[in-house]
Amino acid sequence: MNLSLAFQLMAQPDVNFALILPEVIVSIAGVLVMMVDAFSRRADQRWATGGLSLAGLLGAAGACLWLWSGGAGERVTAFNGMVVLDRLRLSFTLVFIIVSALTVLISMIWVERERLPAGEFHSLLLFATAGMMLMASGGDLVIVFLGLEVLSIATYVMAGFRRTDTRSNESSLKYFILGSFSSAFLLYGIALVYGGTAVNTPGGISAGTTNISEIAARLDDGMYPPLIFAGAAMMLVGFGFKIATAPFHVWTPDVYEGAPTPVTAFMAAGPKAAGFAAFMRVFLFAFPFAVAATGTATSAQVHAAWLGALSVIAILTMTVGNVVALVQRNVKRMLAYSSIAHAGYALVGFVAAGATGDATQQSDAVAAVVFYLLAYALMNLGAFAVVTMIARGGDRRTEIEDYYGIGFRAPVLSFALSIFLLSLLGVPLTAGFMGKVVVFREALSQGFASGNQLLVALVVIGVLNTAVSVYYYLGLIVAMFFRERTTEWSAPRVPASISVTLALTVLGVFYLGIFPGRVIDAFRSVQTTAVTRLK
């Protein structure tokens, strides 16, 4: 791109701040929280920074809904294609906001108990949220990557937030090293794709592109297709790390176990969903189902390659997560493996979205995945809220033995946790069940319509894995209600913020489980030009 072209672009800079309003609001809230942190006494901080964070998130949610009402069915871009507005982005953004708001609620009591700086925690959380939102809204690989880094750096710090605890330090360092490693993969993949999308034009060889729809348009004209294959593979690995899919999951259990519990809750719900948002955005729209292309075209081959790889990854992820969870004795570790397994279930929906060239079907499948992740976020955050309470100061009591016999001594916590576990297991009337139904339904629908046996096989494996997971989810309920406790134990006092969290998550789990219709419908969009082949 020569200089004159750059000026030409700048001449119509396509600035549209309204389109990034949610991100802007969250960022400003983060800065304000920093300032409150700097200018107020520490004792007042918890409510001030927590309340301010909640207000900021609420504002962002409002902005998000405002964008939604403004005809989000049509795909709009701004900042020269850097930012897009579509249902994928908005629905994911809402999920992020919900995750962060609940994390704020969980953390309010925790920061006090652990004597941690509330302001720093909340501002980091808000910046992480802004990063997640950018990941979902990026129409360009650069924005996606920037969002990912903003998110990651904030999360590295949060994982090591209990500075004097060696487990927390270990968790943070592991997350940092492996996270940087995966970011490097992703960046390298982006670079390769950029190189691979340089095309021969009458005016000479053009530069490559990192714009997602532009990549899709240029796939078949690239001068050296192996670059694109290698780039896509690298990005697959990079995103695979971020959402903890097998075989790139090995960091997850250690990091989730060592990180402070509210941070674990956040990491398992938020960044995972953000990873899915970016993963789906990039692979569904940059390497789309090539409707018009012949089987030998690069676009068709890349699509077939990543879809096949993703299916294998989905199978591995579900199976590894569930089977290894069976033998865990630590509750946080068990939930970590369960979160791997749930990423696997969500991947089934992703594969279904990738397997179709029909815009409506694809949007339905994407909506199913978002719904699944929302359901997972609610039950996961709820479960971790209870784990935070049971763990007490310093996160010490997280073994299964620590849960023995607490069922009727802390009935509210135990029954809430049971509901979340049953939902994770997928018992009807809960969000987890509906999530599985909509995701598997999309996969089967594609499978039956196109005769794609692979998708049917994925669903069957998913169902079998659900059967496996019965054992360990039930194990915790058995420990709480059926076992006797031999040691002294008194129920923790449930503070108001945790009560609110539990009430919201339990209601959410039942609402999504019993009346999911409105939410699913909202996540779907009929008009989105999902498959954008800009030719």
Binding site: M10, V31, T166
Partner: protein
């Protein structure tokens, strides 16, 4: 695509450099004559006897200052090209937008600066003492914890 021949000299230089470095060290190992005395095995500190351990911990302040320096450094990197093209942009009618954007950027940096200032980052004397004390406490606690962990084992043995 690429004319790889052009890079041949660089490759050659790499090879020569590696051979030279590895070769010399290896050579001295082979032909060199060694007498290992206590003095010769001491770390070299300008001919003086070494004092204390070489593995010293630096105050975290050093790193923070370094990081803040980098931040303001990079601000300059952004400001430079902005300043260069600003005139062209003004003639293109984008002056206000670009000006406001850059001011926002600077304001954000200012926020960061105020934050570290209020957090007492530049308040060395007092905060350094407090921090050192806190660190000492943590280390002592970790030591005692380690000993407490070790104690029953030795008793059992």
């Amino acid at each position: 695509m690429f004319e790889l021949n052009a890079y041949l000299p660089i490759l050659l230089m790499f090879v020569v450099a590696i051979v030279f470095a590895v070769g010399n060290v290896a050579l001295s190992q082979v032909v060199g004559q060694r007498k290992q005395t206590r003095t010769k095995l001491m770390p070299y500190e300008c001919g003086k006897d070494p004092v204390g351990s070489a593995r010293e911990r630096f105050s975290v302040k050093f790193y923070l200052i370094a990081m803040i320096f980098i931040l303001f450094d990079i601000e300059l990197i952004f400001l430079m090209p902005w300043a260069v093209v600003f005139r062209t942009l003004v003639t293109n009618g984008l002056g206000t937008l670009v000006y406001v954007e850059m001011m926002l950027f600077v304001a954000l940096l200012l926020v960061g600066y105020v934050y570290v200032l209020k957090k007492g980052l530049f308040n060395w004397s007092e905060s350094a003492r407090r921090e050192a004390e806190a660190e000492g406490r943590v280390l002592a606690e970790m030591d005692s914890r380690r000993q407490a962990q070790r104690a029953p084992v030795t008793r059992a043995a």
